[in-house]
Symmetry: C2
Subunit: 190 residues, 2 copies
């Protein structure tokens, strides 16, 4: 598919973000993860720190309300919404999380993917890559997944992680490289 935009949702610790990075490298296209926050900050009047604090959060961690009466988390969502649309206009890319599949649902060149993994692999990954002990890894998995799920379900009319939302979902237990290969095969087939 020409000018494909690949949106990747992911369970915490599934390796979804890393798969997105590898995929972008293989396809020689940019990958937007935290980079989206900078874009959203540049395009809005919202400070980058505030955007990061409210990233993928349905409930604002800052309870102040802006002058126009809109809660900060909604403003952050809208800033990211605009940034995602602008990025998608630039050309093919990979976008990690932030409801990008929903934001871009009307476009024909979008492939939406969700990455899962067995709980034991996710714990191992969180311990290895985020320097957490096992108990903290388990807590982080529950907390971050809930945050992502709440954010997705709040801002979309869909259920986070439900197969029917996505073009393709993969369990990363086969390894990140194989996931990239299968996704490439899928994209090539379009």
């Amino acid at each position: 598919m020409k000018d494909v935009i690949i949106c990747i949702g992911r369970q915490y610790g599934s390796g979804g973000r890393f798969i997105g990075k590898l995929l972008a490298e293989k396809l020689n296209i940019p990958c937007y993860d935290k980079e989206l926050l900078v874009e959203a900050s540049n395009k809005s009047n919202i400070n980058a720190t505030v955007i990061e604090a409210n990233d993928e959060a349905a409930n604002s961690v800052v309870y102040s309300v802006f002058q126009n009466g809109m809660p900060i988390n909604q403003q952050v969502f809208l800033a990211q919404f605009d940034a995602i649309r602008e990025i998608a206009n630039k050309g093919p890319c990979v976008i990690i999380g932030r409801c990008a599949d929903y934001v871009l649902e009307d476009r024909d060149n979008v492939v939406s993917i969700f990455i899962t993994a067995p709980i034991e692999n996710r714990i191992k990954r969180a311990v290895e890559f985020y320097n957490l002990d096992t108990n903290k890894a388990i807590k982080a998995i529950k907390k971050v997944d809930k945050k992502r799920k709440d954010y997705y379900n709040y801002y979309t009319n869909r259920k986070w992680g439900d197969a029917s939302n996505y073009d393709l979902t993969l369990n990363s237990k086969i390894g990140v490289d194989k996931c990239v290969d299968v996704i490439c095969k899928y994209v090539e087939s379009l």
Copy 2:
């Protein structure tokens, strides 16, 4: 993967059963759909008609209880459970629905897949292949999906259609042949 057993769950009208048949043909291995009912009947003392009436049904459509006190739908589940395990012992195959992914979860050679499709495609497929008018197709989609979901969620500790249960899920909007190609690529990569 050697001796792979591919279990395919599917939304009604998604083409999942057809994808399973094509996949089995391509891999030159048997495909079990309704054939499972015959196997289950042969291996149990339950009449094939009773098995078919209770196929993928969490709640018995026949309210009589057998002498051993077990509801008929549970007896049918157990008969299918045994049939699935026996079929899996024979060699590589494709098995459609009937919680086969759960029944065989302890085996290393099992790939679990779920097929979805956009609602408009499912209606079109039900009209075309099952000779239903549009309204009846919509009703059938709701009814059969609910039945399959209830059956799966009742007999397993999982949620039907939740990406985290499966190795791979695919939206068949790309076409059944492309789905078969992507699944083959996945299986080859193992």
